[in-house]
Symmetry: C2
């Protein structure tokens, strides 16, 4: 089998280390050119032909998107294009998929989906517009990458097409939001989408425009210039910011059973199939003005700590799939967290503060979408306030110690009022209190911390326990949780976490990815004679024709 835990590939990178992307910054534009080095897969075992990608390619893309936001705020439009001859991108590498475990496939798709959403987030909230310049074959995940951009332009050379060939050629779905974005985002008519998604060769030229699959086509002779003009026009709509800040490496200390960052620790207990993710609050005086926040840059606690949490979650997903339950803990000063939250809220119009808030929101959504059971543990010395309260609210359960001194507390801040929304739109408090929406405002507006009794009364706690019962109660809850079927828990949590109406973003994870999960595990795709298994081989797949 291919990628798995043992392949502990790096999840951090830097443009100077990119193998597959070239990032060229010429404010107000930037160009991201994909020229996949076919001999540099993230783990050995396959070649990345024809600008096809694996996780390593996407880790670089995610890094570039993040750096463009923080390091290059003077860039207002980003052109993504292909750097190989006559190919924009051929999508996820099929041999990588065919040789990966089910769990890796699912997590690979989840990560690429999150990266695509980060592009849309930048377009919507950072004033950084992405344009796909499809200068050649744009197939499968290649077209899905284009779909994540705000506008798509295709070269009109009589040959280059956009396509989603997964259903006809591989017997699986386009797994990176393609079907959802075609009908929900680009509003392609559903019957045309049906034709498109079953047509291996795709659609090119004028018809691709008529069907709303792309925003325009240009002949090769003036393609680059036409896209550049459009990018400049989009860039002109947005005020540029400068200067950016540098994102330094997180470089955690990694041992067999722990990952230690500056403010975050991930402690693994493989035998018990649990992990503890401990977040340390800010320490000492903190910047309270735009100037001092910009001066602190990547060292500013909220930025650093959420980058660390994000990295830790990815390590859990990719390198520690035997961990079923994550205990979420905090250590620090409740009021220091609240105070920083207040600073962020007041300065939210500052471009850097805005970016930090958006990063916090994306990281929290990554947590919501992590297929592990999450228990928040609110005990002595914890500091679940405001932005860190969201960590607890993302958990499946919140356990809180009722200490004799009444020192264990939770607290809200202005950041709980909707600035850190879930994938489907509402805040975590809104989802939690769907039965009583007015209660959300009460909690957000509450200026005092909640001791355990008050937190329980306010509905913020799943179970509270006195000191004498605390350890036993928590131990029993943990043991029970890790004894349950991991598949059933994944499905249950995916269904209980996202109450309320769904939108296109959440449909990618809730509807499309769930169907893909099923298809990935069916013999028609991944069996010995399945279409994914046999791709590129002379044999034809053999299907069990029964429809469900």
């Amino acid at each position: 089998m291919g990628p798995s835990r043992s392949a502990a590939f790096a999840l951090e990178t830097h443009p100077s280390d990119y193998h597959h992307w070239r990032l060229a910054v010429e404010p107000p534009l930037a160009t991201l050119t994909l020229a996949v080095a076919e001999d540099s897969p993230v783990v050995p075992g396959y070649k990345l032909k024809l600008n096809s990608y694996d996780l390593g390619v996407d880790i670089e893309l995610a890094d570039a998107i993040a750096r463009l936001r923080f390091e290059h705020p003077e860039v207002r439009a980003v052109v993504i294009t292909g750097g190989l001859d006559r190919v924009f991108c051929a999508g996820a590498n099929i041999h990588m998929l065919a040789t990966s475990t089910h769990g890796f496939k699912v997590n690979f798709c989840k990560y690429t989906n999150e990266t695509r959403l980060a592009i849309e987030d930048a377009c919507a909230h950072s004033g950084q517009h992405y344009i796909a310049a499809c200068n050649g074959t744009t197939a499968g995940g290649g077209y899905e990458l284009a779909l994540a951009c705000q506008e798509i332009y295709l070269v009109d050379d009589g040959n280059s097409a956009v396509s989603l060939p997964e259903v006809p050629l591989l017997g699986v779905l386009p797994g990176t939001g393609g079907l959802t974005r075609v009908v929900d985002k680009r509003k392609v008519r559903r019957d045309l989408a049906d034709v498109f998604a079953t047509l291996g060769e795709g659609i090119k030229g004028k018809r691709a425009v008529e069907w709303r699959l792309v925003d325009g086509v240009f002949p090769r002779s003036r393609f680059q210039e036409a896209v550049r003009e459009r990018a400049l026009a989009l860039a002109a709509e947005e005020p540029p910011h400068a200067p950016g800040i540098l994102l330094d490496a997180l470089s955690p200390a990694v041992t067999a059973d722990s990952v230690r960052y500056r403010h975050v620790e991930l402690q693994l207990n493989r035998e018990a199939r649990t992990a503890e993710l401990t977040i340390h609050g800010p320490n000492g005086p903190q910047p309270a003005t735009s100037e001092s926040i910009h001066a602190a840059g990547a060292d500013f606690w909220p930025l650093r700590v959420f980058r660390e949490i994000d990295d830790a979650l990815l390590r859990l997903r990719f390198h520690n799939d035997e961990i079923g339950l994550v205990l979420l803990k905090t250590r620090g000063d409740l009021n220091a967290v609240r105070s920083l939250d207040t600073t962020l809220y007041q300065l939210r119009e500052d471009w850097l503060v805005n970016e930090i808030l958006l990063l916090m929101a994306r990281t929290l959504r990554r947590l919501d979408l992590t297929a592990r059971s999450l228990f928040a543990v609110v005990d002595e010395g914890s500091c679940f306030a405001g932005s860190l309260l969201e960590i607890a609210l993302a958990a499946d359960r919140i356990y809180m110690l009722r200490d004799a001194a009444g020192a264990v507390r939770l607290a809200s801040s202005a950041l709980n009022g909707g600035l850190l929304p879930m994938t489907h739109g509402p805040s975590r408090l809104q989802v939690r209190f769907m039965a009583d929406p007015a209660h959300v405002d009460d909690i957000v507006g509450e200026s005092l911390p909640f001791d355990t009794d008050a937190a329980e009364e306010a509905g913020l706690v799943t179970a509270a326990a006195d000191e004498i019962d605390w350890e036993d109660e928590l131990r029993v809850a943990i043991e029970e949780r890790v004894s349950l079927s991991p598949d059933a828990l994944t499905g249950m949590e995916a269904n209980l976490r996202f109450a309320g109406a769904e939108n296109a973003d959440s449909k990618v994870f809730g509807r499309l990815s769930a169907w893909q999960n099923w298809i990935f595990s069916r013999p028609n795709a991944t069996g010995e004679r399945g279409a994914l298994t046999l791709y590129g081989k002379p044999e034809r797949p053999q299907f069990n024709w029964r429809r469900t």
Copy 2:
């Protein structure tokens, strides 16, 4: 293996033939009492112990719900209760599930979900309120049945609990909307829902009320009377109607490769894995007043034809799972269909007409949710107008003949304006034209039929072909479709058919059922040592602990 195509059980029934339910009508109340005959499973092979159900039990329930609407419009509140000692309902029979094929499990869950939605539809749109009187153990699908009711009352006897034990005991999800309805409909706090759904023994008494799992508890001594009082209060809110009409049996003529009803034919081509579903329009003079419609009763064409379509769809799902593609055809007079639609629209306040419209809408939703490829074929003699145009709009593609005479036409009616909504709320035209919402009104308001050119221009046609190309084009399209992976098509269609925001109803099918599909096909549930397989046996399940 258990139930499959060979078990061609009946999908029609009548209260006089019920094995498992007793329907007692005492206007304005009715009582549906579940007393499952354990020795009468729908196919041999298992016992229906402890008021557990199989498809046969649910077919009777669906029949009762339909008859209550049409035959007993004087009933304004329906109490569902248990008829065995100390048990309301123990949910779907586990041995039936464990011995069924994957396809049967999926279709069984889909059908039971549709039946639960029919209960909610009656509460919301027919002024017929359902109350669950949980007079004993209410477990799994039993609690999900209660969740579909408008109010849930539980006996407070120190023992009877509501529970969703699927995750802890079976390693699967509650498959009939339980998780969705707990958080989305009843707005149970998500962490409490997490505790509830992992607690095999469930929740009883006052805590069940506090957690919003039930609306009230009463001691056994006054349980029946208290529920009755509440039912009478609900019934008093609604104006009763009378008299009802009788729903006669459809009794189609069934051969090895066809099912023939009065107005509908289902022709199977098993070798090609296709079917033709042909719908015949109204013939001769039709009722045009409330009085004449009531007099026509079950013979009234719109009622009869949609009942027949509904039955045909169920036969396709349960008895013909090798059919991958259904060609939807009509034969008759376009204007006769439109004219009847106009009558229905004008008389929509009449209770019977309202019920007919609701039945049409439910049948069309059953079509949307049928996991087979659907091609509408608009050719000579067809009558895709208004309500039958919805059949075409439900299809994945619409093929239309361009005949020299220009006699092949489509037409809209007032019924396309939103009276026949999809599961997630919008009309099929709204979903089709998400890119241009104003166009929907143009089409609904168009008083003239669309010939092929006009239909194509209006975006109503996927592909039009002249007479000389027609047969070839259709043949190639059909051959291509049935060559594709059935799993990938199921997933693709589920993702392309439902553009737009999702609600709780559609989340049951889109999110919950998709996850359940995956879980059903995983070894942790259905493998040799899976939890579902080993249920009731002394061995403990063995899980692969890796989380995705």
